[in-house]
């Protein structure tokens, strides 16, 4: 009963039929644009191409604000302006939404380079934090179940404290509370180009700790669903307790944790938006800045909402696929074991 309390339903669920076709088509277009943008301004790729004699194919030298939109923003804006002034007797009910749509398209085209740069940081923060979080989560979960009375309580306190307080408060704690940003900026590594700014590193630290607590809960539940007889059997062939956990319990249990883990991935993808409040220029921060510049808050938030939806839905579909890939018949589905 408590195990159900640890999880949150998946954002998207399985998508089927014609809806799936539409999602695949739109998602494909979306990722083509994102990857093209990322590659076009990637320092490493540009360096590589320059080295083989193609210096000006990619433009990693351009700052985000100097990047040219790939869609005709001015044209959209022009159409909107013409429609607004010269409706030609057509009902306002038709014209007004049309004007708005073209204005929206103009804003989207205008902001596209900045939003792509933001989306890169969003994905970057999420992937790294999930990855690093895993290295805390597995030991935390194992300690919680197999540790002694003190170590298991410490693990419990860690996960409960992290999961019992808001992520935004945790970000503030690390960024404004601890002088972590200044500390990080002091390192020479931070001067190497391509490294994220100190605020982004603080965000990764906070997200890593936060996601590690949630991941640990999923993994704990999964490990507990492994038949205790498995560890006994491991001990009976002469493996130590730790070896038994490492070679028998974990390989089975981690499989059960995959649905929860992919869920947590999508969850963090959305919550990485909170890094905006500690100045990290990820997707939401970019949109907020554009809003402050143009005062088109509603429009830019609508656009960024759609971008997040595209990110989340495509990621969720990919994760579903991954889940099916890694399931071995008869293993990884706790419900099917009895």
């Amino acid at each position: 009963m408590t195990e159900a309390a640890e999880t949150r339903g998946s954002a998207v669920g399985r998508v089927g039929g014609r809806k799936r076709q539409v999602f695949l088509a739109v998602g494909g277009l979306f990722w083509t644009w994102l990857l093209a943008r990322w590659a076009y301004h990637n320092t490493l790729l540009d360096g590589l191409l320059t080295a083989v004699g193609l210096p000006d194919v990619l433009r990693s030298d351009l700052g985000v604000s100097q990047r040219e939109p790939w869609l005709p923003a001015d044209w959209f804006a022009g159409v909107a302006a013409n429609l607004a002034t010269d409706a030609g007797g057509v009902s306002v009910l038709v014209v007004d939404p049309l004007v708005w749509l073209f204005e929206l398209a103009a804003l989207a085209a205008e902001s596209e380079p900045a939003l792509a740069a933001g989306a890169f940081l969003t994905v970057y923060l999420t992937v790294l934090s999930m990855f690093f979080g895993l290295f805390i989560a597995v030991p935390a979960a194992v300690t919680r179940i197999y540790g002694g009375p003190i170590s298991s309580r410490i693990s419990l306190a860690y996960t409960e404290l992290i999961r019992g307080t808001p992520l935004l408060a945790q970000l503030f704690f690390f960024y404004f509370g601890l002088p972590l940003a200044g500390f990080i900026s002091g390192f020479r590594v931070m001067e190497v180009s391509g490294m994220p700014r100190a605020a982004a590193v603080v965000a990764i630290v906070a997200f890593t700790i936060n996601s590690s607590a949630y991941q640990a809960e999923y993994i704990r539940a999964a490990l507990q669903s492994v038949d205790p007889g498995q560890l006994t059997a491991a001990r009976s062939v002469g493996l130590s307790r730790l070896q038994g956990i490492r070679h028998v319990v974990l390989p089975q249990g981690l499989r059960y944790a995959i649905p929860g883990w992919t869920n947590e991935f999508v969850y963090l993808l959305k919550y990485s938006s909170l890094a905006a409040f500690i100045t990290v220029p990820e997707l939401f921060r970019r949109a907020r800045n554009i809003g402050s510049d143009t005062f088109q808050f509603t429009d830019i938030y609508l656009i960024v909402g759609l971008l997040y939806l595209a990110l989340v839905i495509t990621t969720a579909m990919l994760m579903n696929r991954l889940e099916r890939r890694v399931t071995i018949p008869g293993v990884g589905m706790p419900a099917g074991r009895d």
């Binding site: 949150r8 339903g9 503030f172 938006s273």
Partner: protein, 237 residues
């Protein structure tokens, strides 16, 4: 940092207990209003996803995906800026802007409805189909069967999910910071942004985190009790 300065930072927090308490009240109010809205809309949404058909089911499903797939901060700012919520002024004492409160309630509540709908859907589907047939076989209408047979069982089975949802909504009320609603986190920031108080950041944040933790912890225990109390005798659910 000198110990004297440290002490005075803690004293600063303590001397502002009333200010933070009022923030806690706003946080609790926002949690309750959002959860209620989520429950009121979530159950019908879950029921429609199981028993509904055609465009209604499809519409509920699509809206659910949109609400669950968008970050809460985007929903909150979008509702705040896009909806024509009238300027209703500010509630005295707790210093709460009504239009920000309404926008945050709608965003948190509708998203919660989308998640609670999933919880209810799962609970309804876990109830044996025989329960519906048995209800229909004594002449109850579909609506009567849902109301008297499915609903009471589904709500009980949803309690763990609901408990989870409570924690998430409570924590996410802090995101209303984005629209300046005077809840706990916003008030925390106002405290340490006062001139000369930037040394108290960590103390203030530790205190408000403790308040959030106590709220989630005590409510979770209370809901555990509730669950035991209303469990069906002999039932394993």
């Amino acid at each position: 940092m000198e110990p004297v300065a440290l002490l005075s930072d803690w004293q600063f927090v303590v001397s502002n207990w009333r200010f933070l308490l009022l923030g806690t009240v706003v946080t609790i109010l926002l949690t309750l209003s959002s959860l209620s809205l989520g429950f009121l809309l979530g159950f019908p949404a879950g029921a429609i996803e199981v028993y509904g058909d055609g465009w209604l089911k499809s519409a509920v499903n699509t809206v659910g995906v949109i609400l669950r797939g968008t970050p809460i901060v985007v929903l909150i700012v979008l509702f705040f800026f896009a909806l024509p919520i009238p300027r209703l002024g500010t509630v005295p004492v707790i210093d709460m802007q009504m239009n920000a409160f309404i926008a945050a309630t709608l965003a948190l509540g509708l998203r919660s409805a989308a998640y609670q709908g999933q919880v209810f859907r799962g609970s309804i589907q876990s109830i044996a189909s025989g329960q519906m047939e048995a209800a229909r076989s004594i002449g109850m209408t579909k609506l009567q069967a849902v109301r008297h047979v499915i609903f009471p069982q589904a709500v009980r089975r949803s309690l763990p999910g609901f408990q989870n949802e409570f924690t998430i909504v409570l924590k996410d009320t802090s995101v209303a910071f984005a629209i300046g609603l005077a809840e706990l986190l916003t008030r925390a920031e106002r405290l340490y942004l006062q001139p000369g108080r930037d040394t108290a950041v960590i103390e203030v944040i530790i205190v408000i985190s403790a308040i959030y933790f106590i709220l989630t912890f005590t409510t979770n225990r209370a809901l555990d009790r509730l669950q035991q109390r209303y469990a069906i005798p002999g039932g394993n659910e």
